[in-house]
């Protein structure tokens, strides 16, 4: 599914500037613990997390995850936004809880990363 469509489904807002969200993401990992993300992310393309800091971005850079959506309306500090822009990883935020965001995307056919 295109990230533009996921943004609309979750009524999410873009945090980063000048990074295209016209990208395909078909597998998702949802976690606040970055080692769990690194352990299980072989095919993850999108991270759903409540962890709004540099390490969320670094984890995606390391693991090749294309984008992050923060849940519960979280927004990271400016240095994290700058880091994401350097790494070309779009950051979005939505008001849904982790449970709700996962349920909505699962019901739309998105799959968990194996």
């Amino acid at each position: 599914m295109n990230l533009i469509k996921i943004k609309a489904i979750l009524q999410a807002k873009e945090i980063t500037n000048h990074i295209s969200i016209d990208i395909e993401v078909n597998s998702i990992i949802a976690s606040d613990l970055m080692s769990d993300v690194l352990h299980a992310n072989a095919s993850a393309e999108l991270l759903l997390t409540g962890l709004a800091n540099n390490q969320a971005v670094r984890t995606c850079e390391i693991a090749g995850i294309k984008a992050i959506i923060f849940v519960r309306g979280k927004s990271p500090p400016i240095e994290t936004i700058k880091l994401a822009e350097e790494c070309n990883i779009p950051l979005l935020t939505c008001e849904y809880s982790m449970f709700e965001a996962c349920g909505i995307l699962y019901s739309k056919g998105l799959k968990t990363a194996k």
Binding site: D32, L33, M34, S35, D36, L38, H39, T49, L51, N53, N54, Q55, A56, R58, T59, E61, I62, A63, G64, E79, C87
Partner: protein, 147 residues
Amino acid sequence: MEQETILSEEFEITGGDFINGGMASCRIKNILKEIGIDAEIMRRVAIASYEAEMNVVMYAKKGKMKLILTPHRIVIKVEDEGPGIPDIELAMQPGYSTATPEMREMGFGAGMGLPNIQKNADIFNINSTVGKGTNLQIVINLNNKNV
């Protein structure tokens, strides 16, 4: 048998620096990407080095991470000046963690750091002295896919 070193680079890691923690591993990943290392091997090196780097950031005063590339393998060596690990076998168990609340707020402390390194390494050696520090050696074979 010692192998010819194609590339060797060393990075400093500062304990407690969660803002820059992970920078060395990202640089290692970029170096391997520029060389044209196979994507799956690059991913394994990046994850193992990142977990090792974040362990230094979380637990040690400071440390060094060295990337060594030879024709047949990638070696990551990490040496830190930290508290050391009293029981390595216990620390290797998935889910076991001594992380503080601050570390957990940073997204770590899942107890998967050392198991993640082991999972991604072909050879993983760990030596630790309590009160002195911990040394890691992570070897990932290139399997003739590259270089």
